[in-house]
Amino acid sequence: MTKVNYIEASGRVHAVEAENGISAMEAAVKHGVPGIDGDCGGAAACATCHIYVDPEWLAKTGPAADGLEKSMLEFAEDVNERSRLACQITLNDALDGLVLRLPDRQH
């Protein structure tokens, strides 16, 4: 199990214990974290799971991948160098304690 902390724009924290191997989007949807929609089901094809990786964790998650993830983030709101699509982050032991911040709303 991997612990993930999702922090809403308002500061509210949702701490989730998720199984390894699923994505940070799936974990959020499964545990009812508001603000992560995941409309495409995890194909990096809708950009409705846009999150910001906390600076301390960015080295472990890595930045957005070239290809569809980066292309889709082009059209999301308020994107910065810590922006990722949560569906493209697969949970594993190395990410235990991961901190992800949510935008105001998904676009």
Binding site: G38, D39, A43, C46, M72, F75, E77, R105, Q106, H107
Partner: protein, 422 residues
């Protein structure tokens, strides 16, 4: 008995043809509401289907959810470029040469031009702007609903669906409000083919679109010389990505935004009324728990699928579902079919307002061309149903809907209804 008899007749019709003779592009199938039987057969027997002869030339039909997703997210191979035929099965809608005219716009472009032009207009439907629009939309919805007759039959389509979507468009363009009916007409005309009942000839269509170009040209000239505003025309006139575009490209983007904001939401507004009337248990659920509205909105958009298809052109050979699609082939993603694919969506023919994962539908497309206004559409529908529930105990459908004869816009010309007070 009648319903049963006609269901049997429909199954016979779709099953009676040899597979290679099936042509799902025939607009009259949609008008008669039998296209679903054809797509069910294709999903079952030949999900990536080649039609060698049609009014639009040869084309591939992609009918399963996952295959559609694969095409939609692979813009490197499946191009939207207008000069190759664009995003509709009928090349003439976006391209001259066969009767129509060139209407280049960002939905009919590949990266990088697509990205630049899309980004010029997307701020208008960004979360902050939507929050600003919410109050205006709610007030207008309230006013339109309060003006409707209770207990007396009327046509929901012009009175509510067209009126609300047209008002919304006029606001987004900051278009002269008294002329807003023109927007509806231009929306219909843009995606119409001769014989659709909307236009008689390509010449007529092109002439009406030139009126549209002239009207919007005047608005451009006003806005380009004024301070940048927050309406779509001003955004296009001032953005570095679009301010130097050709008049054709401007007209293309204008009609894209008109159709995108009009034909779609309009028909989901009508479709929701029909779906709730046909599913009284779902109506009970809704009135028992108005908190379901948000989820229901996604279900309405899936169930209705207001745009039946999007088209791409292969610019390289590709394998899909065991078939080889060749460079240059026309590839049609039938969203209306993928949204009924039981491999991905449980009980897909049923309208279920508390469906889990209702947002996972194809109606907005996926990938870089995904509907830019999807959040606005959802907000309009949500507000409509919130305001309906405050006022009426039921919207009763009192006759058969008249469906549009189109393989693209899946919608209604009319829907007779009667409102019930609480």
């Amino acid at each position: 008995m009648t319903a049963l008899a006609s269901a049997t007749a429909k199954a016979t019709e779709a099953d009676s043809l040899p597979l290679d003779r099936i042509d799902v592009s025939r607009a009259e199938l949609f008008e008669r509401n039998v296209e679903g039987d054809y797509f069910a057969r294709l999903r079952r027997e030949d999900p990536v289907h080649y039609c060698a002869e049609s009014a639009y030339g040869p084309y591939w039909s992609i009918t399963k959810y996952k295959d559609i997703m694969a095409v939609d997210t692979n813009h490197q191979v499946f191009s939207s470029e207008a000069s190759l035929g664009g995003i509709l099965i009928d090349d003439n809608i976006q391209k001259s040469g066969g009767g129509g005219m060139d209407l280049p716009n960002f939905i009919g472009m590949d990266p990088p031009r697509h990205d630049e032009q899309r980004k010029a207009v997307s701020p208008i439907v960004a979360p902050a702007n939507l929050a600003r629009l919410e109050g205006t939309i709610r007030e207008r919805v309230g006013r339109v609903l309060d003006g409707l007759p209770v207990g007396k039959e009327f046509d929901w389509v012009p009175a509510v669906s067209i009126e609300l979507t047209t008002q919304m468009l006029a606001t987004l363009f900051d278009f002269p409000f008294e002329d807003r009916a023109k927007l509806t007409r231009w929306s219909d005309v843009t995606v119409a083919e001769p014989g659709s009942g909307i236009i008689d000839s390509w010449e007529q269509r092109n002439a009406e679109l030139m009126d549209c170009a002239n009207y919007f040209g005047r608005l451009w000239n006003e806005r380009v010389n004024a301070e940048p505003g927050s309406d779509l025309i001003s955004m296009l006139a001032h953005s570095p990505a679009t301010r130097n575009m050709t008049p054709e490209n401007y007209l293309g983007n204008v009609v894209l935004l008109i159709v995108g904001g009009n034909d779609t939401t309009r028909n989901s507004m009508t479709g929701g009324v029909l779906a709730l009337d046909r599913n009284p248990k779902e109506r009970e659920k809704l009135y028992g728990n108005p908190g379901l509205i948000e989820n229901m909105v996604s279900e309405i958009i899936r169930w209705q699928t207001p745009l039946s298809h999007m088209r791409r052109t292969a610019i390289a050979d590709a394998e899909l579902g065991g078939k080889t699609i060749r460079k240059g082939d026309k590839v049609v993603m039938w969203y209306v079919s993928g949204n009924r694919d039981d491999e991905v969506i449980e009980r897909p023919d049923d309208f279920i307002i508390d469906r889990p994962r209702a947002r996972q539908h194809l109606s907005f497309g996926f990938g870089i061309h995904r509907c830019v206004g999807n959040r606005l559409a959802e907000m309009q529908l949500k507000i409509l149903w919130e305001e309906v529930l405050k006022r009426f105990s039921r919207i009763e459908v009192t006759g058969e809907p008249v469906r549009v004869r189109s393989n693209f816009v899946r919608g209604y010309a009319s829907l007779p209804v009667k409102l019930h007070a609480y």
